[in-house]
Amino acid sequence: MPEREDLAEEVARWRREISKGGLRLALLSILNEGESYGYQILATLQARGDGVLHPTEAAVYPMLKDLERGGYLLSRWHATGDGVPPRKYYRLSASGNRLLLGLRQAWQQFRDGFEDFAGGKG
């Protein structure tokens, strides 16, 4: 019989697995509200959503690069001066907007469909 710690780790692992897809959706949603830079995006992700994603730089920056490489994000460098290093601002491209819509629809279907199982009716 699995120990309590094993079960907790199993649940934690499952959370990480489903948060992988969720992070992409959350990141695009934040950028849908306006352009932003890595640190600010990370802080927003950590502050919102009741901490379900609790991402770190290890997940956010590679995903930003991945989305930019895929053409879903556009970026520009903005220098603020006063000794502050230039920041790379990201924003959604037209493809990024379409991807966000698609992900939201998919998420809605997933959540509705999964309610039968997750709600404990079965």
Binding site: K20, A59, P62, P85
Partner: protein, 222 residues
């Protein structure tokens, strides 16, 4: 006097070099921007100091590699599954590589001299054998060094100095690639040219031209 800007530039450029990434790349600049914001978050309500930068870097540096890495997929996967993520190993310094090379050269010279003396003794009847024998010796050494690179990922000199030659996936070089990067080592003028061209072309990532062409990298493994 070192300013905060200077210190952030120094830290992040060194991190980029260690990761084999161009210090002038967007990724490095983004790392600098992120480090600044982390340090600023520590100094809320007061003026930021160098100590804030140092403290932020101390905490953040293990994750810094994720901002520098070009291939994002492994980091995303590791973050999602909780699997340990192996960061890019530290690219070996030129000084350490040169020391390893000197050791290899010493071993090669000793081998050539001893074998040439033995063979001259045995083949004293042959006309003008020295050049031919040295050439044969060098070709044999070329093969032996290539075998070391391909099978163990390092020549004896590299093994002594805890260096390894790896491809982009962290594997030992293929036979052909091992041979290509070994040829210049057998002919010092070619090695000098290979190194200079490596320094002049492309990014400052401590690679000889042949290493860049074969997508190989010498890393420090300790």
């Amino acid at each position: 006097m070192t300013t905060i800007h200077d210190r952030i530039e120094t830290i992040t450029k060194q991190a980029a070099l260690d990761a084999g990434v161009d210090p002038d790349s967007d990724a490095r600049r983004e790392l600098a921007s992120h480090l600044f914001d982390l340090a600023a978050a520590r100094a809320v309500g007061r003026e930021m100091t160098l100590a804030d930068v140092e403290a932020a870097w101390l905490e953040f540096s293990p994750r810094a590699i994720h901002l520098l890495r070009e291939d994002a997929a492994p980091a995303i996967e590791a973050a999602a599954t909780g699997a340990p993520f192996v960061p890019i190993p530290r690219t070996a310094s030129w000084r350490r590589r040169f020391a390893a090379y000197l050791l290899d050269v010493a071993a090669m010279v000793a081998t050539v001299v001893i074998s040439a003396l033995v063979l001259i003794e045995l083949m004293s009847e042959t006309a003008d054998p020295l050049e031919i024998l040295v050439m044969i010796d060098l070709l044999i050494l070329l093969v032996i060094m290539s075998v070391f690179e391909a099978r163990r990922g390092a020549t004896p000199g590299k093994q002594t100095f805890h260096l390894r030659t790896v491809d982009a996936q962290g594997r030992n070089p293929s036979w052909v690639r091992a041979l290509i990067i070994t040829v210049p080592k057998i002919f010092p003028p070619l090695l000098a040219l290979d190194t200079i061209l490596g320094l002049l072309t492309g990014v400052r990532d401590r690679r000889r031209l042949t290493e860049r062409l074969t997508d190989l990298r010498v890393i420090q493994v300790n």
